[in-house]
């Protein structure tokens, strides 16, 4: 009754808890990695290459929670100001200003002065930024985690501080999500029946033909299939628009591109999962008891095929996501990935981080969902007693991405 027993398999809820814990850990690892990349980014917030205007850079840092801005509390002339590298405690005096009355600018939190924007003797107005104070690394880390958890991903550099990353992503996510779901639909509708059919006729010419087609589908990169379909159905036979997103029909070609590629993977997986069952003793027994071949293939074999398919889900989802990068570019769709590439080349870090985090959460969530669904589909796992020959779904090699 404990884990020392080799035949013991943890009950479902414990398995679920383990999956969820792994999911949280992975997301935490991604968020932490994101934070460190952000800190170390050359030309990014923390260094001087490709320097932005100091004020804008300070604003970006403050938006990311990586720095505090000290503003002048009143109009006046600066008498004294903390030097670069000086350590300030929380509420410590950062600058003294002689105005109508004496007033002092205080650091909101402790830290090290990283940039001084106004020197002694300069005249300042109330609200003007005087200093940038960088808190200690742990505080920065805590703040970054907090802002990631509250989905506050900062402000895009590209918009000069006018649009938040969340708004940008919220605007483009529906396009990408619709595209991804449509592609999965296309893949399932084309791939699963074809795989079942091939499994039912294993070894015949139709099986060989379908397998050959699926090899081609699996081999074709999205950057080949996308332009090909575009040329065929938007240029030679102008059924669809050659790009942009104005009508719902504009999503047909992109979804077909992604769907056809993923359908090849699905077909192979379905065939591999169903063939063993359909040629086995159980299927023969069911047939002998009068079960129709349709029901046999469509219900029983499908369930057998679905179990290994769950293990393949991560690479399929990763393939969909990466394929959507290409497809959105080829068909000029206003989806999420448009922001990723442009932002990556322009070093718009908050936006890149936002997109990467979004995709990571999607991927990890779907993978975990697959792991959670596994015992639902596989009664052998639900029984919770024997685990011989039953392995939890394991992420397979990622060779299928387009």
């Amino acid at each position: 009754m404990d884990s020392r027993n080799p035949c013991y398999h943890p009950p479902m809820f414990r398995q679920a808890a383990r999956t969820l814990l792994a999911m949280v850990l992975t997301l935490w690892a991604i968020a932490t990695g994101t934070f460190f990349l952000m800190e170390r980014a050359p030309g990014g917030p923390a260094s001087g290459e490709r320097r932005l205007d100091p004020l804008i850079e300070a604003g970006n840092l403050a938006n990311l929670g990586l720095a505090d801005l000290v503003r002048a509390p009143c109009d006046g002339v600066i008498e004294a100001v903390a030097g670069e590298g000086a350590r300030l405690s929380s509420g410590g005096e950062a600058a003294r200003i002689r105005g109508p009355g004496p007033c002092r600018a205080e650091a909101p939190h402790g830290g090290e002065v990283s940039v001084v924007l106004a020197g002694p003797g300069e005249e300042v107005r109330a609200g003007e930024v005087l200093l940038v104070v960088r808190p200690s690394p742990w505080v920065r880390y805590g703040r970054a985690m907090a802002s990631i958890m509250t989905l506050d991903l900062g402000v895009t550099y590209g918009s000069r501080g006018e649009r938040t990353v969340r708004e940008t992503l919220a605007r483009s996510l529906p396009v990408s999500a619709t595209l991804g779901l449509l592609a999965l639909l296309v893949a399932a509708v084309l791939g699963v029946p074809a795989g079942l059919f091939a499994a039912a006729r294993e070894g015949t010419w139709s099986d060989r033909l379908l397998t050959a087609v699926s090899t081609a589908q699996v081999s074709v990169p999205a950057i080949v299939l996308g332009p090909f379909l575009l040329y065929l159905f938007a240029v030679r036979v102008p059924v669809f628009a050659p790009g942009g997103l104005e009508r719902p029909s504009d999503l047909v070609l992109p979804a077909a591109t992604l769907g056809l590629i993923v359908a090849g993977v699905m077909q192979r997986m379905t065939r591999a999962g169903a063939a063993g069952f359909l040629n086995g003793a159980t299927a023969l027994h069911l047939r002998a008891r009068g079960l129709s071949p349709w029901r046999l293939a469509g219900v029983h074999a499908l369930r057998h095929a679905a179990i290994p398919m769950l293990g393949y889900l991560p690479p399929v989802v990763a393939g969909l996501l990466s394929g959507s990068l290409v497809v959105e570019r080829v068909f000029n769709l206003p989806g999420v990935s448009r922001h990723l590439i442009g932002a990556a080349l322009n070093r718009d870090y908050p936006l890149v981080m936002g997109v990467v985090l979004l995709y990571s959460v999607l991927l990890v969530a779907l993978t975990s969902l697959a792991a959670l669904l596994h015992p639902v589909l596989d009664p052998r796992l639900r029984a919770g007693r024997f685990r011989e020959g039953v392995r939890p779904p394991e992420a397979r090699s990622g060779e299928w991405w387009p």
């Binding site: 690892a29 170390r40 081609a216 699996v218 332009p227 040329y231 590439i341 890149v352 990622g398």
Partner: protein, 403 residues
Amino acid sequence: MVLAGIGVLVAAAVAGPETARWVVGFSSDEIHTAFPYAPPGFCDVPDHRQVLDGDRGAFDLLTAGGPPGSSEGIPLGSGRPGDAGPLLARAAAAFRALSMVMARAWQSGGPEGVVPLSEVRDALAGWPAWAGPILDACGPDACPIPALVEASRFLRLTGESLAAMDSDADRTVTRDEFLGAPTARPHLLGSDALGRDALVRLLEGLRLSVLVGATAAVTAAGVGVVYGATAGMAGGPVATVLMRVVDVLYGLPFLFVVILLISLVGPSLLNLLLAIVCVQWLGMARTVHHLVASLRQAPYVVAARSMGCGLVRLCATHILPNARRPILTWTALLVPASIKEEAFLSFLGLGVQAPHASLGTLIAEGSPRIAEVPWLVAWPAAVLFLLVLLVHVACDETGQTDG
């Protein structure tokens, strides 16, 4: 047949661009700005020869007034850098002097400016035989820059362009060689936006793609084998930790991490290679770990171990050689995966950078204009598809992959 196809593609990648220069007469550094987006089969004269086309007097002009004996041919010098032969050195000096004068006029009057006749005469003072026809193109007291550029074209001949005409390789270009030179060659696959021959670009792209794909696959396989074999040989908690690391990395959306990294360090060939290796080694490590862990139980391994064989030796002489077939098949499968990934990253502008070409960048360059110039996308796309497909089919045929 599949292997023959792969052989042809690899041979084209290895021998391609240099061979193409001799077959079609174009090389990638020749820019035919006159004919961008030429359709396949379009006949064109390579750029360095175009200077002479319709300017058959260039030979007489160049050789007139040269050193003794030069009227029989243009001496090419030794061909080493800095030694282009006396005649070409003089021509280059004259052209340089003329360019200075033109540049000055350009600054004051723009591209349509005029050069005072006296300055042109001063610039060409040492070469009266060449000054005549150039001065003929001028007005009574000033020279418009366009006319000057046109009239001085024969001075722009360089050692390399003339060396290409030197068919008997005696380092002298005779009149016959010179006049026989400009022959039109077809752009078999058309030309791209900058007028470069598409076939040569395709072959260069194929070379880079195959090179990057193969290097990345072999490197990733090496890393994966070492890592997986270490984990497999160590066993116990060490293996658990090592493979858990691989599991966690597998859960990451690696592709996006790669894009993030490339945005941090900037796109370059080395970074591209590292990025692909980063993604590809994980699967190999897993496979090798499974293989090694199961082979460790084999009787002959146990026997070797009991005879005092060390772990490293055991792994190198008993385990890995017996796992070589699946390892080789996996490595072969990594090649198309790496090629795809390279094409993908290059397509997005994060991989190979201009002026270098890979199949991905070629498709990326052509696809915005696919309606007008489909052939620019069609050939790279077809070659990429074929390359990946053939390797997949070859791996399927060995029966080692279940997809």
